[in-house]
Symmetry: D2
Subunit: 470 residues, 4 copies
């Protein structure tokens, strides 16, 4: 790219003020102009301008006639944009100046009065908060939807036994319902974080003007209320330079993405030939351009991978903000791409995950068979020794370790060992021990609060519906 | 390092179970053993064990006599550690096994009953939550302390005029008090995020055991309550594999570090020869090994730089967690270093920042003189045109731009222009305009809510004391 | 979004193979389809297909007639795309299937033979390497261009004295030319890293097929050579699953972005009202919508901020790659956005930086005046004491510290002190000392290799031209 | 922590210069003092001081007698540190002042002459480059060691058939030797990056002094040569403010950590109950405190997790460096922890990985049996159709898809289908097709360059030995 200066559309002077003679170079335009990104804020920008205008009228700062003209013009512009008839000009840099410039065409001089007692600095902060607030509401709905799908599956599989893993090694049998409810908890915390973020961002920057407030007798509470904010931001310098809401959003988004990546990883594992626990619906499987037999879990892999994009966006904004002096700096313009891209990515990932889980079919026979592998009821055996023989747990742990070694040596499962063999290790063991060595008994016995027993899972399903879906 | 196997302390077998014959290699020890890091959790580990023990007794799972022995032994161990008399063994891997092993020495067989119905997986999750809860409380106190220092300075400088910058260019005069209160808002939000994190983490994992709950008739509510938790975690798989609390903590820590970096950057700027707004106390300045005249703001630079460490820690844990299947995996052991290091870093940074701000002296004359530079009252002039001549803001903006150009051409400030000159640009301008061109008038006039006017700042100081320090 | 299944364009079956019955859901399409991103690889994809086709013909795997048809068809498609006449179908997922499908329309059955002995896995790896190789060449050119601008400015300002800062405090006078050449070194290292990355990536994956190589008698050296690669990748599993080249590119991009951010920070400082060292051209300045007097260095701030985007992209890809088992996984599709966006960002930033530096004007009077502030020649004084009075440096450092203290107390600069005053601190000092206290003498004296003396700078300019621009 | 000022050890004045009256506060010490971290650089610091001293003598800047005293003193200090007899003082801030202060005790006044024509700024940059150069050499050796282990295993398993996965779905049979060699390629590129980093960092900052060079007639080439550098850094400002070498190191370290994480992930999968491909030696397995049967691959999980730490360290330093103006700032002190911790982490991870791979035993029967699952020779069938029936690949792909569907419907593998069944889909198929449907035939046939055929793998083993281990 070369740095020659371009012809500019009329109106461009507005933005650059009377003090800059030469037009910006093409390069300056290329790096500076944000309309391609921030036009997504059009509805919020118009809503905020309407609230500001109504306030200016009520405070007597502009006339009712000018106010009416402005409000009418803004409505027209809103419709033009929604209908795709609005012509965005790069020479007008951003959404704010595009709207104001069109307003001047529509209503003439009155348009020039709208920017009284405000600045693009407080405008854009207001717009982005409004946009993010809606995004958080949408995300909450999507998360609730995913929780509903998981809860339904959990209910259907409250009694489905599968291997519970630690270190991806068979640890103890668990129920699939219990496993799925773990994700319901995670997504529940994500919703909590989103709600906290929403509450904290719901302060209105409008009226902070460029950085210092204004000498016009504005009523910031009125505009805040009109836009659904809880009140105005308390400090004007902070109002225009703060991007905490965006950083906090990206922080919670990263944790959510991590949760999605964990579930996605499990789907990839469960659908693998080695596990064969589950099968995705055709609608969420892909084939191969060379291997005709493939059923690939691409959507799960993509959900897992997109964690990178979200964590990257978080890092990006933190780097942008690091070391910025007050108040507004143009660096802050770099807040939008990470926020917008993250919202898009998560919206898609949440919907895809709900679709995948909803259509996934489980091979419950295979899962149950595998649940018994890896001596997975060894803990049950140790606990039996504690309970029935009053053995200290540490001793029981050692005895069980020897029994596992014996079984492995003989190529048997634990409940395949003869009582004689067991007694050769610990003579107190009786026939009754076999009652705890089956996987069904194992899961049923773990009925402490929060445990995997089917009855507990059913209670947890019902509690989760109450906590999360009503 | 080579991979030969080492002699092991007695008791090591406990950890490795009966199934592993060979001892771990030195390398395995070097990568696996966590006692150097997690011994910091000793107080929490003992508190959790005591709560667990008391519950086991009340539920009749272990005898009162055993319970008393265990509780007494744990108290002894707690004292030994605090007094520096406790001998940590690397062969016992972590804090949990070190404590249990010593307990066996002290109380014999009863010690072996403590691990009934629990696992290191729920133990460590409990310990870390307890530790982080205390850390969040300490951080809240440190943040309040920093806010107090800032609020006091803000009160003292409610009327001190300085240049307000956007893009580091003089924009409009502001008051130093107003500027400092912007940081009080930021740190206030940090405290809000910390409180939300604390509330959300305050669920007790104890009783989740390895991953699936337990068949012993435990009372999870009792242990949760004894440890000050709001209740037990609802899902055992989630309880042992969740590290949301650590990720959420690091997320809020990163935002806090960004805030500190912004203030640190300003201190570096203000103390520079170019700005000369402020001077750090000798106690927070450093010299040079080669340049004898230096007074370097090293502490501010280090606070700014340590943002990197905190953002790095956040990234580190997110990477660890990405794509981990349930339930516990050893990867989770990598949660502690980022959390501990971040807490240390922020504790130090917050204290250093409070010390710096508290001892900083401002050159108010220089600040006021600079406040008038850069045509900083141009907005006041434009607003005057709007208010007095009923000019639309856009026109006023253009007229003012021309006046600034004229002043610059003549090498004058705005209030150095003759009325004649002004009228040559806009004939409606009157002598009264000079009333808004001084920096004192400028800041006094910006008295909208959240604005920079000294009176507003005093109100804001008093409101901030009420919101944050009572 | 809801998960209903869409009607699909003909040809879609090709991708999904014969084993998937139902069409993918809209959601699956939304998350899976990559054509919007990877169509940027069209030229590389066609070039690679042509090389592959020519090889298949020469090896007798397909007929010459089929080969000719395919080559002709590919040329046609290339032109269609360049002319904007090509219709991309989302139902065909990616650039590879879009091209192949159109090829079938153009040349019929022969098209079906092109995919012999290859897979999309090796295709996309080849395409991306080709694309990145060109990008690295373009980046090298842009870096050389920026170096040229800096070297020219450095030559013009070889003798321009300015304050040299450490900790942003006046340390010692330096020359502006010397300062600018520091960046020439940085960008020189960036070019070195880019060259190393280019060399390392220049291995051809083509022929690795899906993951395991092929049973067709292909000649991988022939295709590698035709595409300008140094040879074929040595291991087929590695060839399709390796994204080192992308990670290495993002790594060097992050360092380059850091360099740009440092220069951008200095431009922001230098153009500030506090420093007033420099002024950007109008073409690279912006105004304000509310403050008519502003000349904002937005481009510099944006270059500084975009570091975040690049560091974020690096983090994103590292997260994607972490923990992926071999061979190809769909996660790898997430390599493109970070690479493409980073290349765009840097291309723009480099051009904008060259434009800014080129048009920047320096206030050399102001810079020189400030160079003498802050007792900046104290080191010269200490060195004089060492040289002339044979004082150990540590003693000289202490003596100078006292002289600085004395001067500060009296409100004088070092060369403003009377000889008497100096002698009251160290009686050996003579009139000759004043010869080293001026800033011109100071910079001229620092003529060690790599030092700031104007003569050294001129030599360095000439050496830099030789090293970097020929 | 409170901010009171502490009593200081004698000598502390040296560092702070004559201009700071009050002692630093404890807090200032806590945040500023780096000796706990940088004492690791003691050998490098002494080596650099010796080189500097020898040069000062040869240039006549200090006397031979002083030079001899200094060199002798430095040797003494080196021995004291190695023997653990050296007393480090926090009041002396860092390794440089600790050494110099002790030198003064040992040799008196001469010690004060060592700091002539240098500064801590160029000293620390030199020390860290020397340290990192050695670290890169050690890392190269560790990488070569890991490659050797992998190559040996690859040779032993050149003919061991296992499933090759894409998307973790069975794709095509491969050989284990081929799979392991993919990692040899990755680690080979890591070594290449390390070598490039080493070459680029091998420039000597010594003599840049604080930032501007020096007026003493030093010989920078002499010191550079004495320390094994290729030459002196070309620009003094760059020399003291550049940390490219550290960022480049962390960048390549992150890619290496990603490679290790991929292999670690595969080890976790292979050792899982679902895969059962491999078993770690007891020396690299761990047990469970509650589940006596466990053999956990903790070391592999930790290697995988530690990727987070390395990526975090990279992010940390990039954040530190972003936006720093020239020349030295105290922020740069934050370069050491990420570099040191990363070097430690990788050293440990590489050794642990070599130990794990070396002792890992494979269940080749299980691997081969699984290699035939998932219709993994479908591509062989399609290729047969192309070769023998001259079918375009696209048609062959479709036909094979139908055959896979048929086999799945009948619960058969592909080679379990009757010829009749096959002919019902494609009548041209003959008995000869069964020759390509076995997994041994499949791998043997993929003998293109870089392919998985055992013969190719043996050639690749031998080529790898030549490329990487000689």
């Amino acid at each position: 790219m070369t740095a020659k200066s371009a012809k500019r559309a009329p109106g461009a002077g507005t933005v650059r003020g009377g003090r800059l003679d030469a037009a910006p170079s093409d390069l300056m335009d290329a790096i500076n102009v944000s309309i391609d990104v921030d036009k997504r804020l059009h509805a919020e920008d118009i809503a905020a301008s309407k609230a500001h205008c109504a306030m200016l009228v009520r405070q007597g700062i502009i006339s009712e006639a000018d106010g009416d003209a402005i409000l009418g013009g803004l409505d027209t512009i809103g419709k033009e944009i929604e209908d795709g008839r609005f012509l965005f000009h790069r020479s007008l840099e951003d959404i704010h100046m595009n709207v104001e410039s069109r307003l001047a065409e529509l209503v003439g001089d009155a348009a020039g009065r709208l920017h009284t007692a405000r600045s693009r600095n407080d405008q854009v902060a207001t717009d982005l908060r409004l946009w993010l607030r809606q995004t958080l509401d949408d995300m909450d709905e999507a998360l609730a939807g995913l929780q509903a799908v998981l809860i339904d599956k959990a209910e259907a599989h409250a009694g489905t036994v599968m291997p519970g893993f630690t270190h991806l090694q068979a640890a103890q049998p668990v129920t699939l319902g219990h496993h799925l409810l773990a994700y319901v908890e995670m997504f529940g915390r994500d919703r909590g974080r989103a709600a906290d973020c929403r509450r904290r961002l719901n302060q209105c920057p409008l009226g902070a003007a460029a950085l210092a407030g204004t000498s016009f007798p504005i009523d910031r509470r009125m505009t805040a209320e009109a836009l659904g904010f809880d009140g105005p931001c308390a400090n004007s310098l902070d109002a225009v330079s703060d991007r905490d809401f965006a950083m906090e959003f990206l922080g919670l988004a990263a944790v959510l993405a991590v949760h999605l990546s964990r579930l996605a990883e499990e789907i990839v594992l469960w659908c693998s030939d080695a596990f064969k626990f589950a099968r995705l619906s055709d609608a969420f499987s892909t084939g191969s351009s060379i291997m005709p037999q493939k059923r690939n879990p691409d959507a799960a892999e993509l959900v897992r991978a997109k964690t990178g994009r979200v964590i990257g966006a978080l890092g990006a904004l933190l780097v942008v903000m690091k070391g910025l002096p007050l108040a507004y700096g143009k660096d802050l313009q770099e807040d939008k791409v990470p926020v917008f891209k993250t919202a898009e990515t998560l919206s898609l990932s949440l919907a895809a995950m709900a679709g995948m889980v909803s259509g996934m079919e489980f091979d419950t026979g295979r899962m149950k068979a595998d649940a018994g592998g890896g001596f997975s009821t060894a803990t049950d055996l140790a606990d039996w020794l504690v309970r029935e023989l009053d053995m200290p747990f540490r001793d029981a742990h050692r005895v069980t370790g020897r029994l596992v070694g014996l079984a492995e040596e003989k190529g048997l499962s634990l409940d395949g060992l003869h009582l004689d063999d067991m007694q050769s290790v610990e003579k107190g063991i009786t026939e009754a021990v076999f009652g705890v060595l089956g996987v069904d008994n194992s899961v049923t016995s773990r009925d402490s609060f929060g445990g995997t027993a089917p009855e507990r899972v059913r209670q947890a399903v019902s509690a989760a519906r109450k906590r999360f879906l009503t």
